[in-house]
Symmetry: C2
Subunit: 519 residues, 2 copies
Amino acid sequence: MSALSLILLSAMTCYSLAFSNAPPPNIIIMLMDDMGWGDLGVFGQPSKETPNLDAMAAQGMLLPNFYTANPLCSPSRAALLTGRLPVRNGFYTTNAHARNAYTPQEIVGGISKDEILLPQMLKKRGYVSKIVGKWHLGHRPQYLPLEHGFDEWFGAPNCHFGPYNNSLRPNIPVYNNSEMLGRYYEEFKINRKTGESNLTQIYLMEGLDFIFRQTKAQRPFFLYWAPDATHAPVYASKRFLGKSQRGRYGDAVMELDYSVGQILSWLRSLSIDHNTFVFFTSDNGAAVMSGPNESGSNGPFLCGKETTFEGGMREPAIAWWPGHIKEGTVSFTLGSVMDLFTTSLTLASISAPNDRTLDGLDLTPVLLNGSDTFQNRPIFFYRGNELMAVRLGQYKAHYWTWSNSWEELKSGINFCPGQEVPGVTTHDQKEHTLQPIIFHLGRDPGEKYPLSVLTKEYQDVLSRISAVVEQHKKTLVPGIPQLNMCDVAVMNWAPAGCEKLRKCLKVPKSQPWKCDWPH
Amino acid sequence: MSALSLILLSAMTCYSLAFSNAPPPNIIIMLMDDMGWGDLGVFGQPSKETPNLDAMAAQGMLLPNFYTANPLCSPSRAALLTGRLPVRNGFYTTNAHARNAYTPQEIVGGISKDEILLPQMLKKRGYVSKIVGKWHLGHRPQYLPLEHGFDEWFGAPNCHFGPYNNSLRPNIPVYNNSEMLGRYYEEFKINRKTGESNLTQIYLMEGLDFIFRQTKAQRPFFLYWAPDATHAPVYASKRFLGKSQRGRYGDAVMELDYSVGQILSWLRSLSIDHNTFVFFTSDNGAAVMSGPNESGSNGPFLCGKETTFEGGMREPAIAWWPGHIKEGTVSFTLGSVMDLFTTSLTLASISAPNDRTLDGLDLTPVLLNGSDTFQNRPIFFYRGNELMAVRLGQYKAHYWTWSNSWEELKSGINFCPGQEVPGVTTHDQKEHTLQPIIFHLGRDPGEKYPLSVLTKEYQDVLSRISAVVEQHKKTLVPGIPQLNMCDVAVMNWAPAGCEKLRKCLKVPKSQPWKCDWPH
């Protein structure tokens, strides 16, 4: 290396947020679908099949205490993009007590126009934003990404499961920007038998292409890369099928890991790695109810998706920004997907909106300076509008416990297969408000050994957590619930662009009903 | 670096086993006590508190599929040092069906003179051998380490638990070579209340001193470093107490991690790192029945110590030998502690004994050349003399299932806390010989989803495993069980050296009985 390039390198390394004239960094958020904490080699997956993600961690910062805002996809994604808890941004239901809700095809609602999404904010500093992959914030026209700040979109509004035949329910459309290009299982094949699909490759190409175009145009960009290959039915392209020790789910993980590697490598090739902040995480815990072929691992944690135990809420998380985030670091800060909103604004030198409560914190002191400021912040675990649990420091207090109902369990749906903690993984909704069940997650990350209520430790923690909960509840103003009403008429029968493709289906008569959220 | 030192370095790197005149490498086996697979950062411990072990893995080879030979300490250690299954080397009981047995103070037996131990073999090539820490192969005079090939010993013959007052039962002696130096809880303090003890520091110093002396004398050495700080009651020295996020158990892990780092650093300082093979592992899975303060983590695996589920048998394992083992590699080979016997002989260019069956394989092709030869070897899981399960490739077939008895469970002893797989973690001994329960450990490392017996996969695997089991059983010649008889008279009342110290206790009258092994 020449002396000149050394000097240039130093200069680049010293590039700092303080220079507000410097171009703001590009931002890439990679959000996986139903991927569990324990699916990455660096987080303990025995198969160690994620060399690119493990390398990303080695070059950046690992965050083992990072949480989603809800154990289900839509509310989690809404929280990420708004920086606010689902109970504030409306991505919840009040149809029944403590129920998870999302945006299936029948859902009438979606993200409110009153919410401000990250790409809307970033636009103020000239960012161009693209979402690649799954949206899940409502599929009716007014709820789609380009109506909420994104400049580009390639992907689908809903999950890619059933009915696979476009008859009783329309197959999910795949959009290019504001018009559909085709549908899953039709133009966008997913072979149900073999699990073969080249969708992840398409999503990768869409991401690389976007990065290239913005780099060439010298415009700062925000890429929200949200592939869904690890959501059941899981899929992978031909070259990855059968490659994993873990079966088809592992094949999907290997392809995503490969794709992450390709994206990071692309940033290096374009010499924008020192100016691009990348964050990798997942929308909720592994869907362990789907069984070993179709779901991932939550490592040592309890239960998974749909629950407010650690398996449902703790997410794999890696931050990467060469020259800014110290390589090979581990931060035990308590983090949340909602922090990505706030942190991104700081990175872009944009003030956060001051007309609403934000739940996300600015993690830049942690990421850039190794601060441990947020080790004692509270993390709130909701199901619907019920505060199920709260983490504060190493402690987690459960005010309500529930996995799923006895009826569901008897029908074969198990949110905690192979796991049972008496009085904790309950099949009735159990209230513990007066005497919450408290775990020390450092000693007991698996939430197996409740602290005895007779100990001083319990009493000390309880008084600290109670104060936090009281304050939170006192000041909480719930948003209007958007996920209460369903209607067959709102399904993806005739998305924009269907005419050109001759793919419009007949819209049935409107028959709204209160959605049934069983868990 | 000068050209000359580059040449020297290359020459050293090319140093090969083929040069039989070259000095044989030193061998260090670091065997932890009740440490679980999930206790190391590199294996997924959320607290990431093992930087030295993680670095050791980054500089060497990680083996995520490494097993002990028994889910309990004594038989595991006997297997390591003999290269043979406990059912062959006599470290088992026939007092009841499928029971774990070990060497408490009452045990009459110990390692047979007919067994050949690793240090006895290594002596043929001039190795000097030392054991530091826990022996556990019998505490009567004829069973002690110096009678079985070790040249030096600093440590204790038994576990360091109870009764802590030297009255009804003598406290465990600590030996220096062939004479006791004192006793646990007396000269060698372990503060039961605070968990403070400087024993790990002493064991570290004993190890470093031995390494230094043999290096100076230019003699090849074998160090069997077997500290017991992670066995309940767990302990750590003052500077580590309270340091871990995980409580006292984590403090002990941090001190052991620190010690491993010190030993590796010492090898570098003495410039013998390129000539010293180091292997780190544990004797059995984490003792999860001891609760969160006194036990570790088995990561995503089922149950723990005392069971033949993965949590009891799969061990953390790292091989390290700069210049010989490629850095940063992961081998998915199926390995066993018994392989350490055979592998060490190959490293020392010593032929294995040919008058007995060895269960250990020579792992040098895996370690030195990255071979995947042994991915399909069988791993046998015994409890007593019952073959409970067999792993072949990614599959594991359970012929018998048992955690512990209903009586024990009701008394509060739980080998699988928070875990319950119906029909698998049984509290009756369940035979499945005709139709074993089979898991695919790649897709399902947690042994939660048995393969359906109706599938072709099940039938294919069964026929392959059945052939292996039949062959194994047909050729197995069990050794004479050494762990059947107990007697109060054999306890550590008056170990060698007690006279000088005036620490001899009165030996009670002999009252032999058949030991009761409850699980």
